[in-house]
């Protein structure tokens, strides 16, 4: 033991135990300090969160395992096309800040279905809202639990299911105890952990490859080897040599890139767990500022991700392409045991033949491992590799907790308090909220351990659903006084159904199935949220023309929320 310590240093695994241990202790400590005593604290953290804290919490809430682990990996394989995620998942905040957050804060309720139900003076509308919120949130949370399991299994070498259970217990502890208040302050800490963990290796590698310490500039710089070649030109060359498209060109059609980007933007602005964060600040003014700060903090990671993608892609191709399998470094073998790197020596020459042509290609690399493996590929110190594991866990846990809160609030507040038993006491509602959170964690854990095959497909579905349902209903609710319940309900129902129809048709082969060639207007299921959103808007407006206008008091509410002053505490 002593011997190996001296030879190998402290080791990645020990570093991971230490860093994960420290961060988890921190989260639990914060949860105990910030536990919720009232429904107001449980749902919206008492409404007194500062814009900066809320911005950090929103950023951590928003940046999930998908942003931290998967996104740079996807970009590194898709090249230019990866921009749909970059623009889509940040551009939505502009819509959020300019069109939604200030007004929803002024409205002063706890949840998104609350707004839908009150603005459209209808419990049917509220129920449609609850169903959408539940579907969107469950889809997401299952993916987060899977991310937790992946990190644990690779870095701590425990069973992936044990990893999921550990994650469940941690989230359960602070979400159930702390509610929104506990979650908010743990998310602040998690933001710090995840951004540090993402940026440190990015900066190291940027210096290594280009000599420029700022990754956002580094990937547009010349190589550090003095050759005078730009990194991106080199990667374009490497890619075409192996038969791939040029990295900076991509392969999706323009209309599809357009549709996916818009669907992700609008979906982002319609996601309940993001919107609800803006109910926690004090004033309308703070809601606007907080959206700006959240995006600034998100963009630090989002602009570094495409740089990481380029570094990782270049390093990976150079390490594996046309090299003898026997010479592969340790990380390669370790990922092979998880099944996320698969080498199949088709021509038995012992050399790794990594090319675009599928019949000759011998290597399959899962996109999800690029960020996690990147520091190892670049031979960074052990503590940096361990830091990435801690950061990935912070990203997954913070998002999971935010989603669980939306689920529990939908059940205890929107379903029980507003529809089933309006006489429930505050204490009773708080117990119901905590029980709902416990059930939600267990369901999420179940899906994390037994992931349904459609998880990846349904993440896009979640955005499409939010785009097709909530976004038009909320926008029309704020900007069009005469929009009535008939129009909004019809719009949401038709919007969701058309989205579900298209997704199930092309993803699961229902309704006769179909291939890429059959896509309507060449738009993929991921981009169809844009079309479904337009359908929602049209249906809402047409139905509205033929049905009675909303009562005067509702129209007065709309005028009232357009004025920023006098936003009180969020209420029932």
């Amino acid at each position: 033991m002593m011997h190996s310590l001296l030879v190998e240093g402290f080791g990645v695994q020990n570093w991971t135990y230490v860093l994960v241990g420290i961060t988890f202790t921190l989260y639990i400590g914060i949860a105990i300090w910030a536990r919720a005593g009232s429904t107001n604290e449980f749902y919206v953290a008492g409404g007194g969160v500062s814009p900066l804290a809320n911005g950090m919490a929103t950023a951590a809430d928003w940046m999930s395992a998908a942003s931290f682990i998967s996104m740079a990996g996807i970009i590194s394989f898709d090249g230019y096309d990866g921009a749909v995620y970059l623009m889509g998942w940040t551009g939505g905040y502009v819509l959020l800040a300019l069109l939604l957050a200030p007004y929803l804060r002024k409205f002063g309720k706890f949840t998104v279905p609350d707004f839908i139900g009150d603005r459209y003076y209808s419990n049917t509308a509220r129920l449609v809202g609850v169903i959408c919120a539940l579907i969107v949130s469950f889809t997401y949370v299952a993916g987060q639990m899977r991310g937790v399991g992946l990190v644990f299994s690779r870095f701590l070498e425990v069973d992936i299911n044990t990893g999921v259970v550990i994650g469940m217990v941690i989230v359960l502890f602070y979400a159930v105890l702390g509610g929104m208040k506990g979650i908010t302050y743990t998310q602040v800490a998690q933001y710090c952990v995840l951004i540090f963990a993402f940026m440190v290796p990015a900066i190291f590698i940027s210096i290594q490859m280009t000599g420029n310490p700022i990754p956002q500039l580094g990937f547009g710089s010349q190589l550090a080897d003095g050759s005078g070649t730009y990194l991106l030109d080199k990667l374009d060359g490497l890619s075409t040599d192996l038969g791939f498209n040029q990295y900076t060109e991509g392969s999706k059609s323009t209309i599809d890139v357009f549709a996916i980007t818009l669907a992700l933007m609008v979906g982002t602005a319609g996601l309940p767990h993001v919107i609800v964060r803006f109910f926690t600040v004090k004033k309308v003014k703070d809601a606007r500022k907080s959206a700006g700060l959240a995006l600034l903090l998100i963009v630090i990671l989002y602009t570094a991700a495409p740089a990481v993608a380029v570094f990782a892609r270049t390093n990976m191709i150079e390490t594996v392409s046309n090299q003898p399998y026997a010479n592969m470094p340790e990380w390669f073998k370790k990922w092979e045991t998880t099944g996320l790197i698969v080498f199949n020596d088709k021509n038995n020459d012992g050399i790794i033949n990594y090319v675009a042509n599928e019949t000759n290609n011998e290597l399959v690399v899962d996109k999800d491992i690029m960020v996690l493996a990147n520091p190892e590929i670049a031979q960074l110190p052990d503590w940096v590799i361990a830091l990435v594991a801690a950061g990935a866990l912070a990203a997954a846990l913070s998002t999971a907790a935010g989603l669980l809160l939306v689920i529990s609030a939908s059940v205890s507040h929107d379903l029980i308090k507003k529809m089933i038993n309006p006489n429930i006491s505050e204490k009773g509602e708080l117990i119901a909220a905590r029980l709902a959170a416990v059930v939600a964690v267990c369901v999420a854990g179940y899906f994390g351990i037994n992931p349904p095959g459609f998880v990846a497909a349904t993440v896009a579905l979640a955005f499409g659903l939010a785009a097709a349902s909530f976004f038009p209903a909320i926008i029309l609710g704020i900007f069009y006084k005469k929009m009535n319940k008939e129009g909004a309900i019809a719009g949401m129902v038709v919007g969701i159904l058309s989205m579900l129809f298209y997704m199930t048709k092309f993803k699961f082969g229902w309704f006769g199935g179909g291939t890429k060639a059959n896509w309507w207007f060449g738009i993929s299921p991921e981009g169809f949220g844009t079309v479904a959103m337009i359908i929602n808007f049209i249906v809402s407006l047409v139905i509205m023309k033929f049905t009675p206008e909303p009562p005067q008091n509702v129209q007065d509410i709309v005028e009232h929320i357009r004025i920023p002053s006098g936003a009180g505490k969020a209420t029932h």
Binding site: M87, G91, L98, L232, T261, R288
Partner: protein, 85 residues
């Protein structure tokens, strides 16, 4: 001016700001990063082709600036119409 007219005038100015800012939002992302990417790609800044840069970097920086400009404009507008209490 009655309270109602005041609110109306405030709303009108707000909408004008929003439309202008959203036009820029559209230009940097959908126009520069997607629709006119090929044309812009013929221009190179350092190692970046310009269309590629807008899609993977520039649009995001502009998004952040847009929100902070909106915050400033609205804070001023709130004051002008007496809604900053």
């Amino acid at each position: 001016m009655t309270e109602k007219d005041n609110a109306k005038a405030y709303w009108k100015e707000n909408i004008r700001y929003v439309l202008i800012l959203l036009a820029i939002w559209f230009l940097v992302s959908f126009a520069a990063g997607i629709l006119f990417k090929e044309e812009l790609n013929s221009i190179k800044i350092g190692g970046f082709k310009l269309g590629f840069w807008f899609a993977q970097q520039g649009s995001m920086y502009v998004f952040v600036v847009l929100i902070f400009v909106y915050v400033r404009l609205m804070n001023k507008l709130d004051k002008k119409y007496g809604y900053d209490a």
